[in-house]
């Protein structure tokens, strides 16, 4: 009897229910770490490993946070990857001329500008976001290719501070803080949720739906710009790509984003995204550690996203899904 009462009290405890979601995610993280640790104790799971996984995952989380604003409204942006590549190329180029100033400002301006273009074309042309961002992704990829002129863009050694801690962690956490404040303490956050809930009612409440959709795209662009800073700092270079190859950069941020959406009801989506990306990075590195061929990476990515969406998509009977 005492145990049951204790559990019941725990359940009703307001503090506990608020952090229930985070608890679940932490348990999942430990679980997956455990699985791979058992499978290959040598190659995987030490504190250094985990620290490096965490740093990698921060990069994806930055992108995922930006994507969150878009996906809450029911929109989609395929051009995220192309944005990262283009912004990254510009980051490398401008870092030669302007050092850190160029490294930071160029991709952020580029990313946000891309977001603005995406949002503007989406609202003016009235084309579904999936379609318009596919067309735009082709355009951004080709722009990146033209600007890079066929050469891989390298980031000068002296500007690689964001490639390791603490600079990268600080940058990422600044972004998380920004996203949290926007969601919780500004009209942007409230209206994003409102538009996602019922666009028609939101509009009749005087909310300028188009304006806030454009803002969401710009936020995604801004965050993509920051993500590209981390990407070029980690990889020390950025290569242009065509043929929709940049799509592969969309996946991991989107997966983390779905974690955020699924755990939204527990009150801290940003935290859910960060932990979620950490879990995903653990899984990927786990597969590498057990010796799976690199080609398996794509298989795992595809399967993982499918499973995550299948589990997190709440289906109301009778609603149309295309």
């Amino acid at each position: 009897m005492k145990m049951k009462e204790k559990l019941l009290n725990l359940k009703n405890n307001k503090l506990f229910s608020r952090y229930k979601g985070i608890l679940i995610l932490l348990v999942l993280a430990v679980f997956f770490w455990g699985v791979f640790k058992i499978l290959t104790p040598q190659n995987f799971g030490s504190w250094e490993n985990l620290f490096s996984y965490m740093q990698t995952s921060l990069m994806y989380s930055v992108g995922a946070c930006g994507f969150y604003f878009i996906i809450i409204m029911g929109l989609f942006d395929f051009s995220l990857g192309a944005n990262i590549v283009l912004s990254g190329i510009l980051a490398c180029i401008f870092s030669y001329q302007f050092g850190y100033f160029g490294l930071i400002i160029a991709p952020i301006i580029c990313g946000t500008l891309i977001g603005l273009i995406n949002g503007f074309l989406y609202t003016r042309l009235k084309i579904p976001s999936i379609i318009v961002t596919i067309g735009l992704l082709l355009i951004y990829e080709s722009l990146g290719s033209v600007i890079a002129g066929g050469k891989v863009q390298i980031l000068d050694k002296q500007y690689q501070i964001f490639g390791s801690s603490p600079a990268n962690i600080l940058l990422a956490f600044f972004v998380f803080f920004l996203a949290s404040v926007l969601l919780k303490y500004t009209k942007i956050g409230t209206y994003t949720y409102a538009i996602g809930s019922n666009e028609f009612i939101a509009k009749s409440m005087g909310i300028n739906v188009n304006k806030y959709k454009i803002i969401a795209f710009m936020l995604l662009g801004f965050f993509a710009g920051v993500m590209s800073i981390l990407a070029v700092s980690y990889g020390t270079s950025m290569a242009a790509a065509t043929g929709m190859a940049t799509m592969s950069r969309n996946f991991t941020p989107i997966m983390g984003c779905f974690f955020g959406v699924a755990f939204k009801k527990y009150g801290s989506p940003i935290l859910a995204i960060v932990i979620g990306e950490f879990i995903i990075t653990i899984i990927f590195n786990g597969f590498v550690a057990i010796g799976a061929p690199t080609t398996i990476q794509n298989v795992v990515t595809g399967a993982a996203l499918l499973i995550i969406v299948a589990l997190t998509a709440r289906t109301v009977k009778g609603v149309i899904v295309k």
Partner: protein, 324 residues
């Protein structure tokens, strides 16, 4: 100012006229086709119309035409399918392996491979209720990974005497047969009429007794199967499969169908001619851009811009209530 607004009103009311709107989907692509032929004709000093170049263009078009037909059916019910490239790769690998034993068996198993992947797509979309664009992007990635894995050490080769099938007559014949069959299904069978209703009003179709879930599933299977068949032509042409076999096919299909005037959300205004006009337009555009000497990135830039322009012009805004 006053006169301008009057002309604008007249122009606007011209386009609001139902008859014009109804045929815009058919007329616009045809006009676009003529324009593209003219533009590239001029840019290449008419050499694009030489027989040898037309043959080249045609050669690229078979696989695209077939694969687009399959996706056409999926898009008619309002879905999207981005996995065709990976399906082509997988089916090509299967056909290549089996080409050493029996060619008929190889083709049949290639089709079944495509159908199987299509079945996964269809199940996830129709039964698990996951949006089709997410499902097919995931399967695209997944099977692209499998293809890369199977071709890690070397490309997969088909038997060398498979090239005896690589004649223009056979390729045209096979393509035309499949097109005719699918056209017939689309226009004159219960299935064909039903899928347009699902695309235009899924709920109402359900209330009229249409088995919506099963039909959706079937469309993905058909799309996969047709692409599986197209893989045969692919293998016959190329003779082997690499890790990137078939990649980008999905973009090409998508752009072709849009150029052909296919409404993105499917439904009642869909026409079979969208496929044919669209693929021809895309093939000419593609080859034309190459012939003009543009590098790949510029080609892609132009394709992207034209794509956006065409979608903006042909999208049926009234049938989509809330555009997301």
């Amino acid at each position: 100012m006053f006169r301008f607004s009057r002309i604008n009103e007249k122009g606007a009311s011209f386009f609001k006229n139902n008859n014009v709107k109804k045929y815009a989907h058919v007329i616009l692509p045809l006009v676009g086709l003529v324009v593209i032929i003219m533009i590239f004709g001029i840019l290449t000093d008419m050499s694009i119309l030489y027989w040898k170049n037309i043959k080249l263009i045609l050669n690229q078009a078979y696989v695209l035409m077939l694969a687009s037909t399959g996706v056409f059916f999926v898009m008619t019910i309002g879905g999207l399918d981005f996995s065709q490239g990976s399906i082509l790769g997988m089916a090509s690998i299967v056909i290549s392996y089996l080409s050493f034993y029996n060619i008929i068996l190889a083709v049949i198993l290639g089709v079944l491979t495509g159908a199987a992947i299509g079945a996964i797509n269809g199940f996830s979309n129709a039964k698990l209720k996951i949006p089709s664009f997410i499902v097919t992007i995931c399967t695209m990635f997944l099977f692209r990974g499998v293809c890369s894995y199977l071709t890690t050490s070397s490309p997969v080769y088909a038997t060398t005497d498979i090239s005896k099938y690589n004649t223009m007559n056979l390729k045209i014949l096979l393509t035309v047969i499949v097109l005719l069959v699918m056209f017939f299904v689309f226009r004159y069978t219960k299935l064909g009429i039903t899928i347009k209703a699902i695309g235009a009003g899924e709920t109402a179709a359900w209330f009229s007794g249409v088995k919506v879930d099963n039909t959706k599933w079937l469309m993905f299977v058909i799309a996969g199967a047709i692409t599986g068949f197209a893989a045969f032509i692919n293998v016959v042409k190329v003779g082997s499969v690499t890790a990137t076999g078939g990649s980008q096919l999905e973009t090409q299909i998508f752009i072709s169908l849009v150029l052909g005037g296919l409404p993105i959300s499917g439904g009642a205004k869909v026409r079979f001619s969208n496929i044919i006009v669209g693929v021809i337009m895309y093939s000419i555009l593609n080859s034309g851009l190459v012939m003009v000497g543009l590098e790949t990135s510029m080609q892609q830039l132009i394709k992207g811009i034209i794509f956006l322009i065409f979608v903006a012009l042909t999208i049926d805004r009234e049938s989509i209530q809330v555009i997301k």
